[in-house]
Symmetry: C3
Subunit: 428 residues, 3 copies
């Protein structure tokens, strides 16, 4: 059964599929405006080309009107109007006749996936190229071809969005995703869809923490974002999640932070263990998305990466096969649920201190049955364990992990103990 | 072959079996006086009902003269005079005729152990009840029964005992046991017997440390005891052992402290490993005795629990089957030996510092043979290892554990090295 | 194929085999002079008998001219002129006729190795004895024998050598070996040969660190050496290696320092893992050479022991079978290579700090290809990993270990990153 939330996310992905996203350009802009319609507090920023961002510079903006190869009979190949993956990202404008032989160095296809158009970009080396299915490529006979790219690559802006949803505290949780990939569904319209859905839910929820939702083009976008927000993020961030490839339903995946020991790692491992049972775990050598920036030395935010099937591991990855059939409402909903549980865990988790020595007489406080017989006392295990380890050193997550239970098993008894004053939060 | 010490302990248990112990009352008082005859320095304390003890209050005192069920022919069932487990602990006085149907909610038996009288108490919820073997219960025919309980439940005292056996230092080792269970042998006359025997031995032994032996009713007794002695115990206690179910010979068991990392845990694990070879190890989720209080946050004493067959794990547990056939002189002696070895280890263990750089010329000090041939040097391993690791950081227990030997292997060479001045104790 | 360096080392061992080394005497002196010819900066020291060294005293000097057993027909047994192992080390002079029965307590042979002359010494208990093959011993018929030892055991000197090869820093790496064993090849002419070869190489190499090469008689020599150099060594030594039994080719062995956690342990384990694949690892209970002094409490230098086949583990050990057939140019070369790699690792290893937040645009610095396609980025893994973990906490060895690669994989990229200023060394 699909939830309505999963259906919403799937519908957004379907709507956004045709746009030609890249690290800059109108496809990004239109994508952000579409999400802004669903998350009105989303702010959209424009950063001029040439702006420095640490070791990088915001590149020229790229926009495409038309692109194709045409043979002398007027038959078109790799037509951008059919699929925007046909054009190598950041191709320069060109209008030129070449022999097939001259054209070959500009063509990309995958012999082992003959029906897939590969995804290729050349952001920082000027040039042009076309991607096409190996099947289509093999239909190109020797002869002359017109390579036609009507595109602009010139000073403009890099566009990104964020929304900061304030809570009681200025301590922040980061959710970051990217939207620089053209028509591909799991990688990467699933991330923006799930983060947008989380934003809608968060705006309605009670919040101790502040939530920073970041929608950027990958790499240059997160670097630019960090160059403008690093200090506040380093000061305030308690945990962050890089959200990518979260739309299929074949796996749950966790890619650890640089050292694998941040609060985000602890939370995500815990939730995945109890939500998903088995999940795929990757160390930081498998990094590939914006965790490369968030976890870099000098930035070093507590960020773990969450995926369903991790980028690079599923057969449709970085090709036109990563289409609407790869993602599903159920897959998106599962990802949403994991991150929602991470947030709920973060909201509740803290260190508490018991207020009196020895076990309380729980019954006196209305928390405990009274007749002692063999076998009694089973049900009140979370109550007794939470109390027994509320020593000011262990947080609720530690206790849940020690007991092998999900932290959510302790939410109700935590409230009960707080209400009757048997525990109190630790400060600092 | 049984030792005379094991025989003594067994005889004490046999003598004490008939008394009707509970958390208060004359059964406890008589039990303590009996132990006092064997351990004259044992002090007996009386705490008035109504006295607060942290979250608890000392309850009314309970004493029973007579209790039974009687049918219209005068046939008695569940007669307290036959076995004091027949009466639910803390039953109120009653004299009332009921139909069998009306009586049923007041009856307790175990269908899966038809010959066992279960052990049931209702300390903090007023009421009454009878326990009987399932076999006896099935003989009760429909009809009217007189429930007769001639008992008093009224303000009086909670009774407990302790003895503090002073040593050179005021740093303390705690041995705690309980004696609130009616006629059951392993749980819990074995604990008081073994702790009393240890007290008798300790009074004769050289003692660096002070020993605090505590005999209390379980839970309310240890809470009351802690409410009166917490500060001195927190200041002085270096290690403590909860001693319970130490009379059978089917297993050795260790139940770790709250975090499993106290000095008592280290000592007990070490001794059990070398004394018992295989032993059963339980984490703190299996707690159930006074370690619940000693290890509670706010108390947090370094206390590990030692059992032969752990409470709750053996078939006779908390029934009339836990009788004199369950315990044995050998079983009690084994428990005594383990705790004696723990004490001997604590007495000797410390950090030492070598007094000169490089290996000493042990031979010069009369500690070493002189001809070097292949294979020599085997016997002097403890000597050389103790010296090599006497670096002020590792205590003798660390060294023994590193070498996989019992700490007692180092007692003699420790003395030798101290005598010739090659090592010196570390202060602080 | 043998290297010329391996051949050199083998030739030195062959030359030095006939000398009668002991903990003092001309055999040691001549051995050091031979090595000095190959390593001219080697300094030779003479310490008078009677000089105190911590718990020890430098013993009298021992020199032998002639020694043998002779029967009444003039047939000689255990003739020192045939093999210097025939005489128990530190035998007193004697000239005496005894019956075979009277002689037996002075004879040493190995029944299970009938052709081997055992190695026996009696440094600190005055006496005399002869070692011989069991085969030869069985030829001695009942009768009278002349025991003849023309030796001097009188005040003289203990002789040792060292060379300190200065580097940019006064922080030191220690290489220690011993040369107190008479005619045996693996134990112990291999150690002096390999350390001498390393000294020759080090004198030509760029050196950040200072290298202290120590050639001492075992035990009393290292104790004497430490008694004269302890302060400077404790202040400056970053890592040290005890080098012994490094001439055969049957194994690589590592014997850990006292706690197994020094920098020398880390380096040696790393190099052995990548150089040798499988290697034999021994804990400190298997100690037996000068690591006993270097790792003693009060000295506690960061010293690990490196062997090919560890002392005590190979069948020829401490007998005349440990001859030139046991060692080989290849075996010596392998040991040299391991220690050379340890030194190279120490020279390069340090903590570095990335100079800018986020990943650099490696391409801009000439360090990175530009076209992003599936599968690219594999070759630049060491570059990206070294940068990603240059956080000031992890040294290059940590990073290499985390990545499961030899540290040498990072030497080139480390230079590249330093050259373009993307990382900088951490101070302190």
């Amino acid at each position: 059964m699909t939830s309505s939330r999963g259906d919403d996310m799937y519908a957004w992905i379907r709507d956004l599929m045709p746009l030609n996203r890249s690290i800059t350009g109108d496809g990004v802009r239109q994508t952000l405006r579409y999400l802004q319609d669903r998350l009105p507090d989303l702010e959209i920023y424009e950063v001029p080309s040439g702006t420095p961002a640490f070791d990088w510079v915001v590149p020229d903006e790229w926009n495409v009107r038309e692109a194709y190869l045409e043979d002398e009979t007027g038959h078109r190949f790799a037509d951008f109007s059919r699929h925007n993956l046909h054009l190598v990202g950041y191709s320069e404008p060109v209008d030129q006749w070449l022999t097939l032989e001259e054209l070959q160095p500009h063509l990309y296809s995958l012999a082992d996936k003959p029906d897939a158009i590969p995804y290729v970009t050349s952001y920082y080396q000027r040039g042009w190229g076309f991607c096409l299915s190996h099947a289509e490529r093999q239909k190109m006979k020797p002869g002359r071809y017109r390579a036609y790219i009507d595109a602009t690559l010139k000073p403009g802006h890099l566009t990104y969005g964020d929304v900061v949803i304030a809570g009681e505290s200025n301590r922040e949780v980061l959710l970051s995703t990217y939207m620089c990939h053209p028509s591909m569904a799991n990688n990467e319209l699933s991330g923006p869809a799930v983060v947008t859905a989380l934003g809608r839910w968060l705006q309605e929820a009670d919040r101790k923490f502040t939530y920073r939702l970041v929608f950027v083009p990958e790499t240059i976008g997160s670097i630019t974002y960090l160059s403008r927000n690093l200090e506040i993020m380093k000061t305030n961030t308690v945990a962050g999640f890089q959200v990518t490839c979260v739309g299929d339903d074949r796996a749950y995946s966790y890619l650890e932070s640089r050292l694998g020991n941040t609060y985000a790692d602890r939370i995500l491992r815990h939730v995945l263990h109890h939500h998903a049972g088995a999940y795929d775990s990757y160390d930081f050598t498998n990094r590939g998305s914006d965790e490369r920036q968030y976890c870099s030395p000098g930035v070093d935010l507590p960020v773990a990466t969450f995926c369903r099937s991790k980028f690079g591991t599923y057969p449709e990855y970085h090709t036109s096969l990563d289409d609407l059939s790869v993602v599903s409402a159920e897959g998106l909903q599962g990802a949403f649920d994991v991150l929602k549980q991470c947030i709920e865990a973060i909201e509740v988790n803290a260190r508490y201190q018991a207020t009196i020595p020895c076990e309380p007489r729980f019954g006196k406080h209305g928390l405990y049955p009274n007749v002692d017989t063999v076998g009694s006392g089973i049900d009140i295990r979370p109550l007794r364990d939470l109390y027994a380890y509320s020593d000011g050193d262990h947080d609720v997550l530690d206790i849940a992990e020690r007991m092998g239970r999900p932290i959510s098993d302790y939410f109700a008894v935590l409230n009960s103990l707080l209400n009757v004053g048997l525990i109190k939060p630790c400060v600092g």
